[in-house]
């Protein structure tokens, strides 16, 4: 299995295959051969031994881009099969209307614009509230509210699209 892994700001080419015994893996990482002994203690919790060095790795796979907790470090990463559609799409670069996404999970406290309305850059669009804190989402550019997907009282998840500015 060949993978391209974006991790810690770098892209690594990793080829990996199961070794002779259960739990043993052989990897080529940017061409360098590495042997790893990996045991899944319970789902998402891995004990990884590489040349005697012991690593506790916890997988946090719920968000769009998965995250590893390697010891005390929190490391977001992306894994791509170089042939996959998503990979090509990401690497094609995206242009188009500006999308305003929820920066945290919460409830919509206020909607400050109407659909079709003209907005200035940095103008407030939606206010999200969670845990006694309010967060105002602003328009990234001058434009027009092409879509408005939430109303006051709605519950939103982090990353949900709230509005689209053209």
């Amino acid at each position: 299995m060949k993978l391209e892994i974006e991790i810690g700001g770098q892209t690594r080419e990793v080829a990996i295959e199961a070794g002779e015994a259960p739990g043993l893996w052989r990897a080529l990482i940017d061409g360098e051969a590495v042997e790893a002994d990996a045991r899944l203690l319970r789902p998402g919790v891995l004990s990884l031994l590489i040349d005697g060095c012991s690593h506790r790795v916890v997988l946090d796979a719920d968000s769009a881009d998965p995250t590893l907790h390697l010891g005390a470090r929190r490391i977001p990463y992306t894994v791509e099969d170089p042939r996959s559609l998503r990979f090509r799409r990401r690497h094609a670069g995206a242009e188009g209307p500006a999308v305003i996404k929820a920066s945290m999970p919460g409830r919509v406290a206020r909607v400050l614009v109407e659909k079709g309305q003209a907005v200035a850059a940095h103008q407030g669009v939606v206010v999200i509230e969670a845990m006694k804190m309010q967060n105002e989402l602003k328009s990234p550019k001058e434009g027009r509210v092409a879509d408005l997907r939430v109303a006051p009282g709605d519950t939103v998840a982090s990353g949900d699209v709230l509005a689209v500015i053209e």
Binding site: M1, K2, L3, I5, I7, G8, Q10, R12, V14, A15, I16, E17, A18, L24, W25, R26, A27, L28, I29, A33, V34, E35, A36, A38, L40, G44, V45, L46, L48, I50, D51, G52, C53, V57, V58, L59, D60, A61, D62, P66, T67, H69, L70, A72, R73, R74, I75, Y77, V79, S103, M104, P105, R107, E129, A130, M131, K132, N135, A157, S158
Partner: protein, 503 residues
């Protein structure tokens, strides 16, 4: 002896009080909102009753419903915890009138000390040092001008009903006073329903040092030493410790005596905290009284060896304090981290949601007062505190080392937490040297975070772990051989030798 105590709270503090009830052989009645049906305090209770929808105004702030459940479940007493109704004198009074013991001070003492201006007057009666300034609400801008001129700039405008930094303004020049006065008043009005503000001299680079007191209903009151809570963000405590690194026995005694005097003057009973500012010359100034158990009470428990919730319950039952001031001995050092569901890398935005992974620390010197479990959905309706991680050790240095060890064992997945903030804070040279004041953390956060010692070059381990997780996915295709045989030779040879320690 109480038969049954209703715990009018949620989260870690509800669980902590519930455990005290168990230990004293008292039934624990929990209440919950719709967001908390699966909360740990419901799971571990003896009885549990629904309050209402998730928002606090519909549930944990509904004193009427809570009193009704107390009556119907046969509870003798109500423990309010902290927050919610804990400093609500009207609720305490309603309990008194219903013949249900409110585990806290009498409502009269709560009223006398709950307003900051009234508390400043009480401090004067107790002969206690306080910051220069007014002891009544300012009637007008003119009065504000004249008080400020008499004590000298910089000054602080504060809301009498205040808390959490609302209605508070620092003013360094006379020309800034009018707008600050107006905005403080209107903010206080909005937040507390009272626009009363007063003025005090601003203390430069103060430490926040507070004294824990315990008073029984027979006129005995003791102080249990101080807590230093100078590490704050937006007036919210982040790390608390006992003892303070800069408070010696003489200062501790003087602050303790002042706090006890104030409590006795005000007819205070049960647990309470008298907060002070400590300036760079070791002068202390009365700040306010918290008429309840505090979040940070565990650090006092660890250095005194006492259980404050047990003692609160016993005091409320009318028992005299089982010790005198001379029996209180502080030993070792305790430090607490408030673990929050917030993202320090993203403006400290709240991060409610499902906890998908949870690895918790343990072992020597570690106490965790925790309100979460793996699978728990942290509601968006309440404050973001998940847990309190507390370390005890013989010295401050070792308490810090122990907390860092425990933080390294701690993993919270699915939501963001401020664990990383503590890993940074506890390694900061200024914190380690106890060069802290209430502005310390904001100054630290204004600097870029130092790189993690080993994060500069993300090592192979992370990439390999990611690949292993990918390869273990049920969907992963059976892999063809990916490397020429020769590439594996040295590895195979190394493996054949057995343990294969590094050379």
């Amino acid at each position: 002896m109480f038969q049954r105590i209703l715990i009018a709270n949620r989260g870690e503090i509800a669980l902590r009080i519930l455990r005290a009830c168990r230990e004293l052989g008292i039934g624990a009645v929990a209440v919950y909102s719709d967001a908390d049906r699966a909360a740990p305090h419901v799971l571990e209770s003896d009885e549990a009753y629904r309050l209402g929808p998730a928002p606090a105004v519909d549930s944990y702030l509904r004193g009427d419903l809570i009193l009704d459940i107390a009556r119907r479940s046969g509870a003798d007493a109500i423990h309010p915890g902290y927050g919610f109704l804990s400093e609500n004198a009207a609720f305490a009074q309603a309990c008194e009138q219903s013949g249900i013991k409110f585990i806290g001070p009498p409502s009269s003492a709560m009223r006398a000390l709950g307003s900051k201006t009234l508390a400043r007057q009480a401090a004067d009666r107790a002969g206690m040092p306080r910051t220069p300034g007014s002891v009544h609400g300012l009637a007008s801008l003119d009065e504000a001008r004249s008080v400020a001129a008499s004590i000298g700039y910089p000054v602080m405008l504060k809301a009498a009903a205040g808390g959490g930094g609302k209605g508070m303004r620092a003013v360094s020049r006379p020309e800034d006073l009018p707008s600050a006065f107006d905005s403080a008043r209107s903010e206080a009005e909005r937040a507390f329903g009272s626009g009363e503000v007063y003025l005090e001299k601003l203390i430069e680079r103060p430490r926040h040092v507070e004294i824990q007191i315990l008073a029984d209903e027979h006129g005995h009151c003791v102080s249990l030493g101080e807590r230093e809570c100078s590490v704050q963000r937006r007036h919210q405590k982040v790390i608390e410790e006992a003892p303070s690194a800069v408070v010696g026995p003489d200062l501790r005694r003087r602050m303790g005596e002042a706090a006890v005097r104030l409590a006795l003057t005000a007819g205070y009973t049960n647990a309470g905290t008298v907060e002070f500012l400590l300036d760079e010359d070791q002068n202390f100034y009365f700040l306010e009284v918290n008429t309840r158990l505090q979040v940070e009470h565990p650090v006092t428990e660890l250095v005194t060896g006492l259980d404050l919730v047990h003692l609160q319950i016993r005091i409320a039952q009318g028992e005299p304090l089982p010790f005198t001031q001379q029996d209180i001995h502080l030993r070792g050092h305790a430090m607490e981290c408030r673990i929050y569901a917030e993202d320090p890398d993203n403006g400290f935005l709240p991060s409610p949601g499902r906890i998908t992974r949870l690895l918790q620390p343990g072992g020597p010197g570690i106490r965790e007062d925790c309100g979460i479990y793996e699978g728990w959905v942290v509601p968006m309706d309440y404050d973001p505190m998940l847990s309190k991680l507390i370390a005890y050790a013989p010295t401050r240095e070792l308490a810090i080392a122990r907390l860092l060890r425990a933080l390294d064992e701690y993993v919270i997945g699915g939501i963001r937490s401020n664990l990383g903030l503590f890993r940074r804070l506890l390694r900061d040279p200024d914190f380690r040297a106890a060069r802290i004041d209430t502005g310390y953390l904001d100054r630290l956060l204004a600097q870029p975070a130092p790189l993690h010692p080993s994060s500069a070059a993300p090592d192979n381990a992370a990439a390999i772990a990611a690949a292993v997780f990918e390869a273990m996915k049920p969907s992963a295709a059976p892999s063809a051989s990916v490397a020429p045989a020769s590439a594996w030779k040295s590895a195979a040879r190394r493996e054949a030798t057995g343990g294969a320690p590094r050379a």
